[in-house]
Amino acid sequence: MATIVQFENVGLRYGTGPETLSDVSFSLGAGSFYFLTGASGAGKTSLLKLLYLAQRPTRGMIRLFGEDAVTLPRARLPGFRRRIGVVFQDFRLVPHLSAADNVALPLRVSGVPESDVEAPVREMLAWVGLSDRAHARPATLSGGEQQRIAIARAVIGRPEMLVADEPTGNVDPAMAERLLHLFDSLNRLGTTVVVATHDLQLINRIAGAHMMRIEQGRLSDPTGSLRFPPRDA
């Protein structure tokens, strides 16, 4: 199995503060499912930001899709970001746009012709069970509905890697399980999935998923699969 992400001794510091992440090293296999767990403030979101290229590390080496992501020229970042789907903890939906237009954004950003946008958007809205809310603005949607729109937006471009920060934080257990199955089915299609969560019960629901645990900015590897991704994952 190819390695899609590789971190070596990565450190991250915001300004002159203490290191948020220290000596983080791991590898993620393409097509695998990973859970990132840890207490609030442990560094989960910071680690995800490095994964979806919202932040550069202050030290260490990151390889993403086989290329050095630390020294990657700024002009090449958009191309890399289009290969990563992100579900933000705070959803970050565009308030002026309808649910359908929010979901369509990655396709439009990628230059997909307008005639080829409508069908996948309809499909994604049906996938997350929000077909009847296609024209609703985010402000009129519940937290759970916004979260599902954010997930639909993250996966509509069939990314090579999906990064989700607490994607089930605002939904009831039934919806959480449903969303998890959405991620699982995406993973079965070949997408590498990284889900940050503090809900340990979720982890057991995906067969073959790996766990990464972060504590005070340092990564532990309880399953031992991060250093050496399993070949049959």
Binding site: V94, P106, S110, V117
Partner: protein, 292 residues
């Protein structure tokens, strides 16, 4: 965004009604003033050209108490000077008619010593040809008074040229102000839509795509506002032109706009739109370069 986001969804990404309306009004005022200044510049410039072509090549010789043979001798002599296009002794009846508004019927009195006026039309300016004419007339009639139109029109011409340059400077200033407004609007738009732009970046938008969103919005505001301002200014110019024509004064009648001038004025909103787009793009790209 890409061409696809030229769609209504793409335009709505930066939706901000109140800011847009303000920008359009500002642009309307800017273009109104710019078109007026441009019209002043073009009009005065055409007046200068008119002065140069109609009056600058003119000379006048005044002979007091000269007999008809003496006048004819001067006319014949001047006609021999190379560069002189036409020479005409103004008939006494015509002179009397010209003076009637000031002298009344007294101007018709044959005993009134009205000077004989000889109009001379010189090709080009009156420099060297004027000197030759002056020498030739001076030899035949030492007391003759010779006026070159260019000499007494010099200060007038200089004043009109100054007005034209001032108008040009005003247009440049307005263009600079418009560019600054576009720059400030783009920067303020970046702040207003920072969250949206961050999301777009995370979804893989390039800086150029983000910049296009702002360029399109600023171009639309400049074009719509500019068109309103230009139409209003054109109305004002047409009104002023009608008043100027009604004056029937020689000096101001040259202040007129031709078809090319109107075309140039009509192009100003387009020019300003391009300028605003360019500066918005520069501002946005420079600001985005400082982000990841």
């Amino acid at each position: 965004m890409s061409d696809a986001t030229a769609s209504r969804a793409g335009r709505r990404l930066l939706d901000n009604g109140r800011q847009t309306r303000a920008m359009r009004w500002v642009m309307a005022v800017m273009l109104f003033l710019t078109v007026l200044a441009g019209a002043l510049g073009l009009g005065t410039w055409s007046a200068v050209a008119g002065l140069d072509s109609q009056l600058a090549g003119r000379m006048t010789v005044q002979l007091l108490g000269a007999t008809d043979p003496a006048v004819r001798a001067v006319v014949d002599a001047v006609q021999q000077v190379p560069g002189v296009r036409a020479v005409r002794a103004v008939p006494r009846a015509e002179m009397a008619a010209l003076l009637q508004p000031w002298l009344g019927d007294a101007g018709l009195d044959a005993d009134l010593p009205i000077p004989v006026v000889i109009d001379i039309d010189v090709a080009g300016d009156t420099g060297s040809v004027g000197d030759a004419v002056t020498a030739r007339v001076g030899a035949l009639a030492p007391d003759a008074r010779i006026d070159r139109a260019a000499r007494w029109l010099g200060p007038v011409r200089s004043f009109i040229v100054s007005l034209a340059w001032l108008a040009g400077a005003l247009v440049v200033l307005m263009a600079t102000a418009t560019a600054s407004i576009a720059l400030l609007t783009a920067r303020s738009g970046l702040d207003t839509h920072r969250d949206t732009i961050n999301v777009l970046h995370m979804l893989g938008s390039t800086d150029v795509q983000v910049s296009r969103l702002f360029q399109r919005r600023i171009a639309l505001d400049t074009l719509v506002g500019g068109a309103v301002g230009t139409v209003a200014a054109a109305g004002a110019i047409a009104l002023i032109s009608a008043r100027v024509q009604a004056l029937d004064a020689v000096l101001v009648s040259g202040v007129a706009l031709g078809p090319v001038d109107w075309l140039l004025l009509a192009a100003l909103p387009l020019l300003f739109t391009g300028l605003a787009m360019l500066f918005a793009r520069v501002a946005i790209l420079a600001a985005l370069r400082r982000t990841l």
